[in-house]
Amino acid sequence: MISTTDQRTMTILDLPGATPDDVAFPPWLATMRRAAATRFAELGLPARNDEEWRHTSLRSLQSTPLVPAGGTASSLDAGVVNAAALPGLTGPRLVFVDGVLSADLSSLDALPAGLTVLPLSEAAARHETLVREHFGVLADGAREAFTSLNTACLGEGTFVHVARGVDITEPILVLAIATGRAATATHPRLLLIAEESSRASVVEDYVSLGHVPHLTNIVTEIFVGANAHVQHAMAVRETDEAFNISTLKVRQERDSYFASHSALFGGALVRNQVNPVLVGTGGHSLLNGLYLPRGRQHHDSHMRVEHQAPNCESRQYYAGILQDHAHGVFSGRIVVSQIAQKTDAIQQNRNLLLSKDAQANTKPQLEIYADDVRCTHGATIGELDEEALFYLRSRCLSEEAARGLLVYAFAREGLERIELAPLRDALTNLLVEQLPYRGLLDSFVGDEAG
């Protein structure tokens, strides 16, 4: 096995030049990769004086030695993988180990008709026009360093296509495991195209097995066709040393529905960026998120919802539970362009501070250029409601049980918005593990699940 000392160590800025291009991509993609490397070098890492990165310092990331992902997939016992995966998700799955696709661990057999799930390189060869028309269109990286970095270091990715009118019930799982054998820098990439009136859901799950620093720099592009229904979920449950930066770009055609669920349960520095653009009338966008930083973790959620067509709705609900010395950041912006009359947009960010050393920064923002709209946003930061505590105590719950129950209820609200039952249950169980007073909660959760 490769150990860290055998590898040439480098910083994040050296990655584009050092990442091997051992995946067979067509020439146009190789060209794109090089252009992105140049762009990344020009942009550099965002600094704190960049308004978008005001509360998130990348200093520690910059000084962390990293090893580029590549080569052949490290072997991993199937039992370990199954234990790490979210339970209950039995659909098609792709498993990446330290950024490299493991064909053995993945299962893409017996896909329903109309559903295509392929490694990105294979899709680029077999469906060149389709991939070329969509790849890098939403995430062009012109102004975003991490998107450029992802394209510049592109390894194997995931391609999902749902044909017109096809309804896929089982969620597609993309599981990325960091083994902790090295301080790997991985750049997962997902391209999902849901054609008109189709229905699909994708779950991206990021897990660490060891306690070694590593970088996961994700870019996901989703095209939601007219009248299509797409759900995307992202679970980040990496180690206390991990850096996880994700960029989700979505384009929604008329009457489409898109939901994004983010569950940030781990990672030293997690930056979760979600950016749906509603380009057709009558679209609906739901951004639902829960962040639970503990210890000295730093979780930063960055939303930008762009209404570019009339009569669309968007909903943002982000909730944070901050323990210990954790730092939670929320920045959300609703942009309503002049043409987007009759927009109905809601943005909510609620934060629960459970420790006097925790810190919350929130920036719920509106940028509105149309006059006939209904846009509201709200943000709250506070500790548990004394009256609610008193209510429970007066019903003979101990102080701890009362607190535990209230924290659970606070977090549970977001999870209830997840339509996929197996995912909802899996995340609820994970949530309970993360919460204080968990012993007391098991009985409640058990009752509900049963």
Partner: protein, 484 residues
């Protein structure tokens, strides 16, 4: 609907009503900024050495700074040529200067009359002392005797430097240091006059204090400096109102206001700002880049800002409160109305440091024509601020489909006992609301005016009685002639 669009268009097109120039010879410095000009201003004003030194320190610091660019101004703003600004301009006085109102240049008084604020009338009817600043020098200070009986000092800044140097030296720059930001630093170097208020221990100021600032001479940047100190248990209410004549070039207005409240003191600061906004194509107008900050040093102290902003090509200011004393309270009530091609990026900062500190923010933004109106506010709760409370409400009203309304709140909390809430809405005047009024025989123009007034009511009611009427008038005059 076509009618109500016409109504809004007509409203958006109305002309600035206070655009006239008073022809008075000025005793001005040559345009340009240098250490020599600063020495010239300081010498003209017969200032002590320490103040000149302070100005020069500010100037040298300013040379090392670059203008900020983080503000949300979709149309941006033209570069400011600091070397073409005249930094000192005083109306020429006959003899030793006026001793009473009768001696004040009648042309000046006429100017105020055109603005609808005849001094005599206000003195008699409203019982208000007016320290009228015409360009850079105070020309009339009234009611001084009444105030002197109570021990309240209310005078021009230059006079305060001469008569009460110890007080000025003690408090100047303690809230807004000379190095604070680009425009405050510039002001510290070149400020010409302003107002000074000192309310001694236990005194409740017997009347509302008021200053009318007015930019008059062409190409004169106005850099006033206001300092208000309320000692233990004192209270004072202060109002500034601004109108300016029509000009085609952009004029810079970079004022600094410092408020200091000791134990149990209360300061209420109200502003009606109606500087020239530029014409409907966005030519000319005032750049209103102002630093206003209050410090609740004492326990249970209370600072309240109320502003009605209807003028200026660009308004860019954040009246703030530093809540240092335990149990202190900060408040911010704002109406910002932008029209034509005006741009506003305004709001507040509430810095909670002391225990049990509370802050309350109500912001109402109205956008019409091609205007952009942004609320930007910071609520910061430090670790030390046990049981801090904040409630923020900011609402935007859009009139027309070419304008923008934006909201950028920042909430930074480092103490779990804090309760911070922020709410915002954006809406337009409903056709049903206008219909409801018109079918009851109210004209469309009056209906729009009523609805706008209702939207702003929460803020307007915070204004001192005398000025609530004026603000009301200002809003309805703004809507005048809007019937199609």
């Amino acid at each position: 609907m076509a009618d109500s669009t016409a109504t809004l268009d007509a409203w958006a097109e109305q002309e600035y009503k206070w655009g006239f120039v008073t022809d008075i010879e000025a005793d001005s410095a040559p345009p340009g900024l240098s250490e020599d000009i600063i020495r010239f201003i300081s010498a003209k004003k017969d200032e002590p050495e320490w103040l000149l030194e302070w100005r020069l320190r500010a100037y040298r610091h300013w040379l090392t700074m670059s203008p900020p660019h983080w503000q949300f101004l979709p149309r941006g703003y033209g570069p400011i040529d600091y070397q073409s600004i005249i930094y000192y301009s005083a109306p020429k006085q006959k003899g030793d200067g006026p001793k009473s109102l009768a001696e004040v240049d009648p042309k000046l008084l006429e100017t105020y009359e055109k603005l609808g604020i005849p001094l005599e009338e206000q003195m008699m009817l409203a019982g208000v002392a007016v320290d009228a600043v015409f360009d850079s020098v105070s020309v009339a200070t009234t009611f001084k005797e009444t105030l002197a009986e109570k021990g309240v000092i209310f005078c021009s800044f230059s006079e305060a430097v001469k008569e009460h140097p110890e007080l000025v030296q003690k408090y100047l720059g303690t809230v807004v240091p000379y190095s604070d930001n680009y425009f405050a630093t510039l002001n510290s170097a070149v400020f010409t006059d302003g107002s000074f208020v000192f309310v001694p221990k236990g005194v409740e100021c017997p009347m509302e204090l008021s200053t009318y600032f007015r930019i008059n001479a062409m190409n004169t940047g106005q850099f006033e400096r206001t300092l208000i100190v309320a000692e233990e248990g004192a209270s004072v209410s202060y109002l500034e109102g601004c109108t300016a004549p029509m000009r085609d070039e952009n004029q810079l207005h970079a004022a600094v206001v410092e408020l200091i409240a000791l134990d149990d003191a209360k300061i209420k600061y109200s502003t009606i700002q109606n500087w020239y906004p530029g014409d409907k194509d966005g030519t000319g107008g005032i750049y209103n880049f102002v630093t206003k900050r209050g410090k609740c040093i004492g326990k249970r102290s209370h600072i309240s800002w109320t502003q009605v902003e209807t003028g200026s090509a660009i308004t860019w200011k954040y009246p703030s409160c530093i809540l240092q004393g335990d149990d202190s309270i900060g408040e911010f009530y704002s109406v910002a109305m932008t029209n034509n091609r005006q741009q506003a990026d305004t709001g507040t900062k509430m810095i909670h440091i002391g225990k049990n500190t509370r802050s309350y923010i109500v912001s109402k933004g109205i956008s019409a024509g091609f205007a952009h109106n942004a609320y930007r506010g910071l609520v910061q709760v430090n670790r030390s601020a046990e049981n801090a409370r904040n409630y923020t409400q900011c609402d935007s009203l859009l009139m027309g489909d070419q304008c923008g309304a934006h909201t950028f709140p920042y909430i930074d909390v480092r103490n779990p006992t804090a309760h911070v809430e922020h709410e915002a809405t954006t809406s337009k005047i409903g056709e049903d609301q206008i219909f409801y009024c018109t079918q009851r025989g109210i004209t469309e123009e009056n209906a729009v005016s009523m609805i706008v007034n209702g939207f702003c009511k929460e803020v307007l009611k915070e204004l001192p009685m005398e000025f609530a009427v004026e603000a009301d008038k200002l809003l309805s005059i703004s809507l005048e002639g809007s019937v199609g």
